[in-house]
Structure formats: C-alpha cells, structure tokens
Subunit: 375 residues, 2 copies
C-alpha cells in the first residue's frame, strides 16, 4: 500500500518476458505507436506524447529545462516537499519562481494565485504539483488554473506523477500544456518510464528554443518520432512492453470506473481510519484520493508502528518525509487498489493499534465495508 | 546480431518476474549493494559505482555535466559518430573540446593526442570513446591514455557503452576516472540502465562542484548511497533484478573467458567474411571485437541485403549511420555470442550473397569453423 511503486498486475509483469527487439525496427515502431495512442486516451488528450526512460523526477526536470529560460517568471503553488523542489528547480536553472505558499496539508487559496498573475507582468508558466505526495493533498482547482493560464497567455504545466490514472485529469479539457506522470504510481506499471504530453504551442516553443541537454531534450524526441516513430536513445524496451499492458488494463476498466474505484477506496480508508480514531493530515477540501497521509497519535511511534504492520501483517505503508518525518504515515491508494486492499489494510492498522495498547475508538472496518458495498 | 540491444538470456529475463518492491526498503538496499559489488568486479575497480535509469547516452551526458565546466579544455579523439557527438556535447555545455581527429575506420595516432596535451596548457580531461560503434573501431591504446592523463593531472573518462564486458577494460589498472557503460550491449541485459564508475578524485570534484541538473546529478546519487544504499529517484526496479542476473552470469563465466570468447568469435567472423570476399571497414590495427563493420560490395544494396537476411534467415544486422549509411553493415559480436551465432550468421550472409547473384569467393564457413574449434 505504498504511494509508488505500487503492485504490478501479473499481466503487466509477464509482458516483460517478450523477447528483446531492436529499437530501430518495425516491431518497436508498432509498440511505441500503440503506447502513444493508448497514453493519449488515458491522458484524454490529442497532444503529442513522449515516453522517457527515467523516473518521474527526470520527466519533471525535462518539463522545466525545455520550457524555462533565464529570467522567466514561473508561478508555483508550494504546500509540500514536491512543490518546494519544483520551485527550487525552476530557480536553479535561472528561472524566477514565484512561490504561492500554503501551510502543508492545505491548498493555497486560488485568489493568491490570481494575485500572483496580477502583480507580476509577463508570467511565462504556472507549474502545479497536482497531487502533493508528501502531505496527501490534491489541488482541487486544476481546471480553474488552466483557465487562468489561458487568460494570461501562460503555459500550464501539471506534475501529475503520483495521480494520473487515479483521479480526474482531462488534459485537453483542462488546458494542460505539459502533463508529466510516471509508470509506477496510479498507472500500476513497473518504475522506469515517464510519459509526458506536450501541447502544440509548448512544442513549437521547445523546437525553437532547445536546451543544451541531450537526454532530456524533447526536441530530439519529437524529431525521431516524426521521422520514424522511434526514440532518439535506446529505450527500456522491456518496460515499454509492460507499460503497454498497464495502459491496456486501464482502458479495459475505463477511466471513469477507475477514478470512481479510487475515490470509493479512499473514502472507505478515510472513514475507517476516522472511526479508529486516526485523523488525516490534510484539510478535508484538499484531501487526496491516491495518497492518504494520516497524523500519528502521540502513543504511536512511526518506526514501531510500520514495522509491526510490515512484519506481522505484511502491509507496507510509507512514513512521512522532510519535516513530516515521524509525524505522519502515508497510504498509497492507487493503481490496483480494491476493497480487498482497503479492508486488509484497515484490519492490520486496527490490530497494530491494539498490539501497541492504543484502543481503536470504533469499528473502522464496519464503516469502511459499508462505503465499499454501497454503489 | 545487433550492436545492442543484444539477446538477453532467459535467466535475466525471468528475473524481471520478481514481485515489485519498495525502493526505500531493505529488499532494495540488498539488491543495490549486490549490484554495485558485482559491477565493481566486472569493471575491475574499487571505485564508486552509480547505476542510472537511463540509456548509455544519459550516462555519458552525466559524465560530462558533472565534470566539465565553462571554459574547461577537454581532449576528445574523434573518428566516428559517437566521438563527434561527445565533442559536440562538451562544447554545448560550455567546455572547449580539442578534437584529435582521424579518418573514420582509423584511430588517431597517439602522438597527436600527446601533442594536444603539449600544446594546450591545463587540460582538464580526456574523453575517449573506447569502441566507436558507428565504424567498428576500438581504441587500442587506452592503457597509454590513462598514463598520459596521469602524467598531465587530467581526468580520464572512458565511454565504454558498447564494449564493457566484451573486451579488456581493467578500470583501476588503466587509471580510468570515469567509466560509463550500458546494460544492453556486451553485458547482455535489457536496456534502461547505465552503470558508471567514478574515482575518488573525480567524486570529490563532483561533490564540490555539483551541476544544476537533478536527474543526472551524481552528487545526489553518492549521498543517497552513502546514507542508505538507495538511489535519489525511483529506479527501474525490474531492470535492477535483470541486471543483477546478467552480472551474475558474467562472473560465473569469468571476465577472461568472456573476453576470449568475444575475441574468438570476432576473429572467426572477420576471417569467414574475408573468405567470402567481404572486407572490414576498419583498419586492421583498429578493428573492434564487439562491433564489426563491413564494407558493402558494389553489387550488394543495403536495404535489400539486410531485408533478405532478416526475413529469410531471421538474422538481424545493423546498417551504417551518419555518413556511412548504405556503405557498411554492422554485426554485433557481443554478450551472448557463441560459435552457433557466428556460424549461423556467416551461413546466412553467404546464402544471401548467392540469392543476390554475388558469388562468395571461398568457403567462409569452413575458415570460421576452424578458428572457432582451435583452442
């Protein structure tokens, strides 16, 4: 139950047994074209797609170095570790990040973002971490951010690494110029690939202003794809096979069903844990359906708590990090998550509380079960 | 018989079926430590090892951006596509590449490299493409380059992407500060990982002068490994399992046996093709044992030749690229290559020549067989 890498379905793992092929062959071109078409469906976009052989961080970096130049003004909502890192990255390559901050666990009021656009002329882009994995919050006004960017002629970039495939993100409808995600989170593939969608306008800019990097240079990926449906550098072919299968599973389920399943599982976890006496770190309005961060009760010690869960119940949860280390634990509610996982996790947490002499307030399992079985 | 990705042994492919693990867990730490220890043996080094989730190009770029700063003088032997790219990369990030050129198919005389050091003060590093995949040449004086660098207090960087595991490269004995390779060439793993070794001196420099990149920032990889035996960003875990198995197979065979096998197979291919009337592109002194580039006879047309080999004999060879497109074909003699592959390839080439009405001069198979069966 980690917030990535998540469990990988057997069908996806088995796809990696496909014998090795040449990445300059018709076999690869067919594979890559198929992946791009399926990724477009999952992203709900007609934009160009590039699949990098990197982690999500590599792709987020690509989204910055290909678009942001020295002196460019960039608005970044900051309410956790990943927003902080993104703003720092913008600054580190010479851009000027305008940080719109909120306390961890809350979303910055959208008025403050509008204000940032009003008080700064010529903002080039807004980079938003859609789901802040470190705190378990989701920006619930992405569609509005798309409109704000449109009105201000700014690029809208979504870091959707930990959420795409587990919550709403219709890229074209929401006017997202660049959308970045990774294979091992809500898409339930093995880690190592990071798909990115790029709008025509962003693409044109990148083609006219390529960065000095080779490996993360998106212009080169466009060129190779347009000329031959290939990647400029040797791709992780086994992971491409796995990723295609992961996308296929998503499309078989359907995006709406998949998002509903994630939402229902999240609701059951929040309600069940609440009944046990455990409270979310995030404000209700900002709560994530894919990464659930829960405040520790004083009586529960992080390491001991997660150690018992792992060794006695074989349930893996993540700790907090940065300034939340030891203060929260985090549950990944993504990818393959079903009622089974929710009930097993709640049951393990409830038992672990008992083992640690922290009496659960109520019957969390019963509350969760009710939610999971109500349509 | 491609010069990468090469055939992957079943043991290696099957290792990817291992269930997904957390990259912040003891399971991963054990895996990564084991990979590093085995990679050190294959590299014949005690230096630090970093494994990037990228292609070889990503790791070569890391070797440049972490070491070379604006204005730094860098000697680069250039005798093919990859040497050209490497020198261009040095220039593109603000370094000054001093190109020591030779005609494609030849190695620059080592005297010209010594001269470059003598006529330019304060050279920071020498970057050498050990095996030039585009032309089928290998720099046969790497050990001497290591000495030259040592004498001149310069860093010695080896791009060994297409050769490590298939020919000699004792990193410590040859004084290589940074050695870069990739998983899918002579190491016979699936593509997507790129191991790099870094000497203490190079490491210290990188730690004191980190680049602005995140994903390719080696300082971060050192830090995470030293603190917790982890990677800073989510690694391609399935490929790590595969890579460990590929390394295990190499160590079971032994480096000496493995290099002898590659050499013998290469000798048999060169001799067999020569008997058929086909000549290597490279000068004899510069010939590669892992990538064999062969000049087309006028009567053989690239596309048709390789198409027949592929469709009728299921033998895949690579074409030339850059200015050698259509002029040469290339045989990967790496990784899993055995007598079986050599004989099957020669037989297919011989038959394809007959199909295209180009009579083979002599019995190439017999000549090759003799070499393969002589100890």
């Amino acid at each position: 139950m980690l917030p990535g890498p998540t469990n990988v379905p057997n069908r996806v793992t088995s796809a990696m047994l496909t014998p090795m092929i040449n990445h300059r062959s018709e076999d690869f071109r067919t594979l890559y074209k198929d992946i791009i078409a399926k990724t477009q469906k999952v992203f709900q976009t007609n934009n160009d797609i590039v699949v990098l052989t990197t982690s999500g961080t590599g792709a987020v970096e690509a989204s910055v170095v290909n678009l942001i130049k020295k002196g460019d003004l960039v608005v970044v909502p900051v309410n956790g570790e990943f927003g902080t890192r993104l703003a720092d990255l913008v600054d580190s390559i010479g851009g000027k990040a305008i940080r719109v901050k909120a306390a961890f666990g809350q979303n910055p009021p959208i008025e403050k973002i509008i204000e940032a656009f009003e008080t700064n002329r010529g903002i080039k882009a807004l980079y938003a971490v859609y789901n802040e994995t470190s705190t378990g919050t989701t920006l619930r006004y992405m569609e509005k951010l798309g409109k704000i960017c449109d009105d201000n002629d700014a690029f809208f970039v979504a870091d959707a690494v930990s959420i795409l495939g587990g919550d709403e993100l219709p890229v074209d409808d929401w006017n997202v110029d660049i959308c970045v995600t990774a294979s091992q989170k809500a898409l339930a593939g093995p880690p190592g690939l990071a798909p990115i969608s790029i709008s025509n306008e962003a693409k044109r800019y990148m083609q006219d202003n390529p960065p000095s990097t080779q490996y993360l240079n998106l212009k080169r990926y466009f060129k190779y794809y347009e000329e031959s449906y290939e990647t400029p550098f040797t791709p992780a072919i086994s992971l491409f096979y796995a990723f295609r299968e992961a996308l296929e599973i998503i499309l078989e389920e359907g995006m709406k069903n998949r998002i509903d399943r994630h939402r229902k599982c999240a609701n059951a976890i929040y309600a069940g844990l609440g009944e046990l006496g455990l409270k979310p770190f995030a404000d209700e309005a900002a709560r994530s359906n894919v990464v659930i961060a829960i405040k520790y009760l004083n009586e529960l010690e992080d390491k001991k708590f997660r150690q018992i869960l792992s060794s006695q119940f074989r349930v893996l949860l993540a700790g907090g990090f940065g300034e939340l280390k030891g203060k929260v634990f985090r549950i990944g509610c993504m990818g393959e998550v079903t009622s089974y996982h929710v009930m097993r996790t709640l049951s393990a947490i409830s038992s672990t509380m008992e083992i640690l002499n922290v009496k659960p307030q109520g019957n969390g399992l019963s509350v969760a079960h009710k939610i999971l079985t109500t349509s």
